[in-house]
C-alpha cells in the first residue's frame, strides 16, 4: 500500500474513533495530545491499527511511537 493511501486510511479511522477533526492529524503532532487520550485511549488506538492492518503494536513498542509520523512509519515497516 502506498504510504499516502495508508496515511489517509489511518487518519480517517482515527478521526472517526476519537471524534476529532481530520485536519488536526499532522505528521509531527503528538498522538496523545492530539487525540486527547491517556494510556487507556492508546489501547483503543492499538486495537484500531490491529483491526485495520492486522498489526499488533506491542506495549513496549509504544514508547517509540509518540507522533503520527512514528505511527505511519511503524505500520509501513510492519505491514505484510
Amino acid at each position: 500500500m502506498e504510504k499516502t493511501k495508508l496515511i489517509d486510511r489511518v487518519n480517517e479511522a482515527l478521526a472517526e474513533e476519537f471524534e476529532i477533526e481530520i485536519s488536526t492529524l499532522v505528521p509531527d503532532a503528538n498522538i496523545k495530545e492530539t487525540l486527547d487520550i491517556d494510556s487507556l485511549g492508546l489501547v483503543d488506538m492499538v486495537a484500531l491499527v490491529e483491526s485495520l492492518f492486522g498489526i499488533k503494536i506491542q506495549a513496549h513498542e509504544m514508547t517509540g511511537i509518540l507522533t503520527f509520523e512514528n505511527l505511519y512509519d511503524y505500520i509501513c515497516n510492519n505491514i505484510k
Binding site: E19, L40, A47, K56
Partner: protein, 407 residues
C-alpha cells in the same frame, strides 16, 4: 434526634418518557410502554415482550472519552441524573465545592460483559476488547462513571439488592444523611434493557407470554396474570438534609420519613408473606405515623402469580381495615428491576405532586388475595400527602420507603 432527610430533585428516563414532564403525562393517561420485540424470538426467547425505550444519544453532550466507559444503563442513569440535578438546582460549582455522594442501584452489566466475551472468543486477543470494556462490565459501572462525570466527592458506591436495589440505595443514602456523614446524596437505580441481560430470566419462565396483546401483558394483581414483562431505564432522586436544603435555598419536594427492610431467609426466588410484612411494619414504625396517614401504596407487584398474591396478603395483614389505593405502576412500565425502587419513588412523587393516582392497568378480575385491597383500574383524581413504596428482590431482600409531601 435523627436529622430530617428531604427530596429536592428528581429525574427519570423510562419507557413512559424521557423526562419528568413526559412521564407524568404518561402516568396520567395510563399509557403502557410495553411492546413485542420479534428479535428476542430470534434469540430463542420464550417471550418477546419488553418495555421500549431508546438509548439516549449523548454525543455532543459527553466527550468520546467519557462515553467509551459507559455501559448501556449508564446512558439512562446520566440522563436521569442530569435532570435530577437541574431539578434540584445543583450546578457544577456546587458539586466541586461540596462532598455530594452517590449511591446507585444496579445489579448487572450483562450486555457489556457479553460483548467483551464475544470479542475475546472471536479475536483471541484481549487488546481488541478495547479500553472501555472493563469499566462497562463491572457492576459499579454507573457509580464509577457518574461520579467522574459529575465530579462527585462524597460516597461513591453501587447498591446491589436485586429488584430492590434502587429502593435500598435511597434508604441507605437517607441513613448516611441521618447519621451526619453526608449532607447530600444522589440516589437512584438503573436497568439495562438489552436482551442479554434477561435471557436467563426468560429461561426460568418468569415472563408473560401474552404476546398478542403487549399492552395487556403486565397485569399486576389481576386473576389472569401470567408473568412479568422486563423493562428498564433509570431514575434519580437528590436527597439531602433539611438543613442543607434550607441553607442553599432549595425547593423541598418531600421528606423521606420511613425506611424498612428485611430478608425472607427463605427461598431464592419464591417470595413469602412474613418478610415483606416485616419490611412494611418497620417502615411504618420508623416513620412514626398512623397507618391511616398513608394515602397511596405503590406496590412491588410484578404480575407474577405467587409474588403478587403474597404481597397482597402482606399489605392486607399490615393495613387491616385501612384501604388506601394500591397500584403497581409496573402495569405500565413492566418490571424495571434494579431501577424499580427508584423509579417508583419518582412515579409516586409525580402522582402526589399532581393530585392523581395512575391506574393499575389490566386489573380486570381480582383473585382471592387482591380482592381484599383497594386497587383502581382507572385513574383516581385524589390528593394524598403520604405514600409507601415497596420493592422486593431475589434472595428475599425487601425494602419499603415512606415519603411525605412538603408543600
Amino acid at each position: 434526634m435523627k436529622r430530617r432527610v428531604v427530596i429536592t430533585g428528581m429525574g427519570i428516563y423510562s419507557c413512559l418518557g424521557k423526562n419528568l414532564e413526559e412521564v407524568c403525562t404518561s402516568l396520567y393517561e395510563g399509557k403502557s410502554g410495553i411492546v413485542f420485540d420479534p428479535s428476542r424470538k430470534e434469540l430463542g426467547f420464550r417471550s418477546g415482550l419488553t418495555a421500549h425505550l431508546e438509548i439516549p444519544n449523548l454525543k455532543g453532550i459527553l466527550s468520546r472519552n467519557q462515553r467509551v466507559y459507559m455501559a448501556e444503563q449508564c446512558n439512562y442513569a446520566y440522563a436521569a441524573t442530569a435532570e435530577a440535578l437541574k431539578n434540584a438546582k445543583i450546578d457544577h460549582d456546587y458539586l466541586v465545592a461540596h462532598e455530594v455522594g452517590l449511591l446507585y442501584g444496579n445489579d448487572s452489566s450483562a450486555g457489556a460483559v457479553m460483548k467483551s466475551i464475544d470479542t475475546m472468543r472471536d479475536k483471541r486477543d484481549t487488546t481488541m476488547i478495547g479500553s472501555g470494556a472493563i469499566f462497562q462490565s463491572m457492576n459499579s459501572t454507573i457509580s464509577m462513571n457518574l461520579s467522574c462525570i459529575f465530579k462527585l466527592r462524597g460516597i461513591n458506591l453501587t447498591v446491589s439488592g436485586a429488584c430492590a436495589s434502587g429502593s435500598h440505595a435511597i434508604g441507605l443514602g437517607r441513613m448516611l444523611i441521618q447519621a451526619g456523614l453526608q449532607e447530600c446524596v444522589v440516589c437512584g437505580g438503573a436497568q439495562e434493557v438489552n436482551p442479554y441481560s434477561i435471557g436467563s430470566f426468560d429461561g426460568i419462565n418468569a415472563f408473560s407470554i401474552r404476546e398478542s396483546e403487549p399492552e395487556k401483558a403486565s397485569r399486576p394483581f389481576d386473576r389472569d396474570r401470567d408473568g412479568l414483562v422486563p423493562g428498564g431505564g433509570a431514575a434519580t432522586v437528590i436527597i439531602e438534609s433539611y438543613e442543607s436544603a434550607v441553607k442553599r435555598g432549595a425547593t423541598v419536594l418531600a421528606e423521606i420519613t420511613g425506611y424498612g427492610f428485611s430478608s425472607n431467609g427463605d427461598h431464592i426466588s419464591v417470595p413469602n408473606v412474613d418478610g415483606p410484612s416485616r419490611s412494611l411494619q418497620m417502615a411504618i414504625r420508623e416513620a412514626g405515623i398512623d397507618i391511616r396517614d398513608i394515602g397511596y401504596v405503590n406496590a412491588h407487584a410484578t404480575s407474577t402469580p405467587v409474588g403478587d398474591a403474597n404481597e397482597a396478603k402482606a399489605i392486607a395483614n399490615v393495613f387491616g381495615s385501612h384501604k388506601p389505593e394500591i397500584t403497581s405502576t409496573k402495569s405500565m412500565t413492566g418490571h424495571e428491576m434494579w431501577m424499580a425502587g427508584a423509579s417508583e419513588i419518582v412515579y409516586s412523587m409525580l402522582m402526589m405532586k399532581n393530585g392523581f393516582i395512575a391506574p393499575n392497568l389490566n386489573f380486570e378480575n381480582p383473585d382471592e388475595d387482591s380482592s381484599k385491597l383497594n386497587i383502581p383500574a382507572v385513574r383516581v383524581n385524589k390528593s394524598f400527602d403520604t405514600f409507601l413504596s415497596n420493592s422486593f428482590g431475589f434472595g428475599g431482600t425487601n425494602s419499603s420507603l415512606i415519603v411525605k409531601n412538603i408543600k
